[in-house]
């Protein structure tokens, strides 16, 4: 039995008096697509920064790809990929140059870089624009290229921070097919998104509220347990406990619609 790709136990991070991440525990299995959801300011970014070795936890532990993020951050960084909506590619460079740059950073040999470049460009259908500046490409193409570049060193785990923000609906779906494809090949994916339909594409999701994980599970199980018709509805219920949305769009106190039993227990 292999170790989980990500193993987080009672992870916390405080900034002065403010607890951004408050005793979070979860595991992500190899090849799983895990949706990491939460409202703005709920602590997602702080948690991810700890998991990718950029921020020291105040307490608790996290192991990513078998290494401790606090004491073996460099080992972690070499075994993960990361893509954010804001910065991923050098826009003045071409797709070919971006792949070469990242391949070099991750210590791939010249031969490996050449092979991977040809594979990736063919796979994404970008061979014809391989030598055009990235900035001249449509956003959707750039995002797909950025995802592939994040996988250039064949990491065990890839972290995607709002990868599809602002992307057109067809490209958004093509992007998710790249995610499924990577997962089918054994890559573990942790992804954040504000598109609630994308949450339903994940094998499992967690929803963070005020630094804690308020709910976690397979989307279908969560919808059944919380008696909601969509993850969007659950998100609203958890992120704003003082209100819930009914199908007519009116808001009312959440009390009667919330389950009285603890989360995760079967009906």
């Amino acid at each position: 039995m292999s170790e989980p790709a990500i193993q987080v136990s009672e992870l916390s991070r405080r900034f002065g008096d403010f607890t951004a991440v408050d005793g979070v525990s979860f595991e992500v299995n190899e090849g799983e697509v895990f949706g990491f959801l939460g409202a703005n300011g709920a602590g997602k970014t702080t948690a991810i920064r700890m998991l990718i070795g950029l921020l020291q936890p105040t307490s608790g532990t996290a192991r990513v790809a078998g290494y401790d993020v606090a004491t073996q951050a460099e080992q972690v960084k070499r075994r993960i990929g990361y893509m954010s909506q804001r910065f991923s590619l050098y826009e003045d460079l071409t797709p070919r140059e971006n792949i070469r740059l990242y391949g070099g950073i991750y210590g791939l040999t010249r031969e490996q870089i050449r092979t991977r470049t040809a594979q990736m460009l063919d796979r994404l259908g970008l061979s014809r624009v391989a030598d055009a500046a990235v900035r001249s490409l449509p956003l959707g193409w750039r995002q797909k290229l950025a995802f592939s570049v994040a996988l250039v060193h064949q990491p065990r785990i890839v972290f995607l921070d709002e990868p599809t923000s602002g992307v057109d609906p067809i490209t958004r779906r093509q992007f998710w097919e790249l995610i499924y494809d990577a997962a089918a090949n054994g890559t573990t994916v942790l992804v954040t998104t504000h598109y609630m339909d994308e949450a339903e594409y994940c094998d499992r999701i967690s929803i963070m509220v005020a630094g804690r994980i308020a709910a976690m599970g397979a989307p279908a199980d969560l919808k059944r347990d919380y008696r909601v018709s969509s993850i969007d509805e659950l998100f609203v219920q958890l992120a704003r406990p003082d209100r819930a949305i009914d199908p007519t769009g009116a808001t009312h106190p959440a009390g009667p619609t919330r389950p009285s039993r603890p989360e995760g227990t079967p009906l």
Partner: protein
């Protein structure tokens, strides 16, 4: 939701906004390609589409920050090029990028924008109250230290403080979480009750139904303009929802079905359309079910669905031969050589 039964201010005949064949190029890129539309007074109107579709360019032209290369536009009867001084007094604009002063407090930002237009917070309080009431507890906090949702509310306040007659909001909810987005649209609904004409752009298709009318925008063109319900009603072929345990594998299988027109994942359901538009939906559903059964997806269920605005957007971009999404280079994994 009708735009017709609203009282119109005396002496305010004519549309709020009229655009005729607007064109704007940047180098070789055509950002706006012959865009024409009319927006009525009091409407909550949405430009819906992805980044790079021309929404921001259009908004910047309408608030006189850019001039069109061809075509013309009027806002409140004022020409956006010739009458720009008068226009700027009467419109409010919230840019897509956070454009307040991060080192000034909430109150200082608002005071600044009020003073630019020769007014004060006190004098305009009634106009901004529905939003400002939520910000007042944080009025001494630096704008840069606000949460994403709160920043958007402050920016909205600043765009409203000079009591504009038309409000332009460029992607006010991009990057904002699903709950804050909902709250922001609730606020726009309140402003609409007050008779304000509001023009909003968004990449989130699910927000379209909050608008009286919408324009679907892509590649610098309008792919359609109507009430959201009419856009949906114009979806011209049966839509089926397919559920299967092995969702991704079922999707790849469906794409290889002889009669597939399109197959896309929507949340936990696959949306499927068929090339055979002359068959009843039940027959198509039965065929698809049989096909999936034969491929081993015996748990698959198939049922007719009502399309969403997003389905309509996808269908209309598929039709557009100039769309980058129909370019063979952006083909999907699981196709052809895979």
């Amino acid at each position: 939701m009708s735009a017709v039964d609203r009282p119109v201010k005396a002496g305010a005949a004519g549309p709020a906004i009229q655009a005729d064949a607007l064109v704007k190029r940047f180098d070789r890129t055509v950002a706006l390609d012959q865009v024409s539309f009319t927006i009525d007074k009091g409407e909550l109107f949405g430009f819906i589409g992805p980044d790079g579709g021309g929404k921001t360019t259009l908004f910047r032209i309408l608030v006189s920050l850019l001039t069109p290369d061809a075509g013309r536009a009027t806002v409140l009867g004022l020409d956006v090029v010739r009458d720009f001084r008068a226009l700027r007094q009467r419109v409010g604009y919230m840019a897509g990028r956070f454009s307040l002063y991060p080192d000034l407090s909430v109150e200082e930002n608002l005071t600044f924008f009020a003073s630019v237009f020769g007014t004060t917070i006190e004098r305009e309080y009634a106009q901004i109250k529905p939003i400002y009431a939520q910000l007042e507890p944080f009025r001494t906090r630096h704008a840069g230290a606000l949460s994403g949702g709160m920043k958007q509310k402050l920016a909205l306040c600043c765009a409203l403080v000079h009591r504009p007659e038309v409000l332009f909001l460029d992607e006010p909810t991009t990057g904002v979480d699903a709950v804050s987005r909902r709250e922001f649209w609730d606020l726009l609904g309140v402003l609409k009750q007050g008779g304000l004409t509001t023009v909003v752009s968004t990449p989130y298709m699910d927000e379209a139904t909050r608008c009286d009318r919408i324009a679907l925008m892509h590649g610098g063109k309008l792919l359609g303009l109507d009430a959201p319900s009419a856009i949906i009603a114009a979806f011209d072929r049966p839509l089926l929802g397919v559920r299967a345990g092995q969702r991704y594998k079922a999707l790849l299988a469906l794409r290889k079905y002889a009669h597939v027109h399109s197959a896309y994942p929507f949340g936990d359901v696959l949306h499927y359309t068929d090339t055979r538009t002359d068959l009843p939906v039940e027959r198509i559903g039965a065929d698809v079910k049989q096909f999936l059964d034969a491929r081993g997806f015996t748990d698959a269920s198939v049922c007719p669905l009502t399309p969403s605005v997003e389905d309509s957007f996808i269908a209309r971009t598929e039709l557009d031969p100039g769309s980058p999404m129909t370019d063979p280079r952006s083909r999907l994994p699981g196709h052809s050589h895979e």
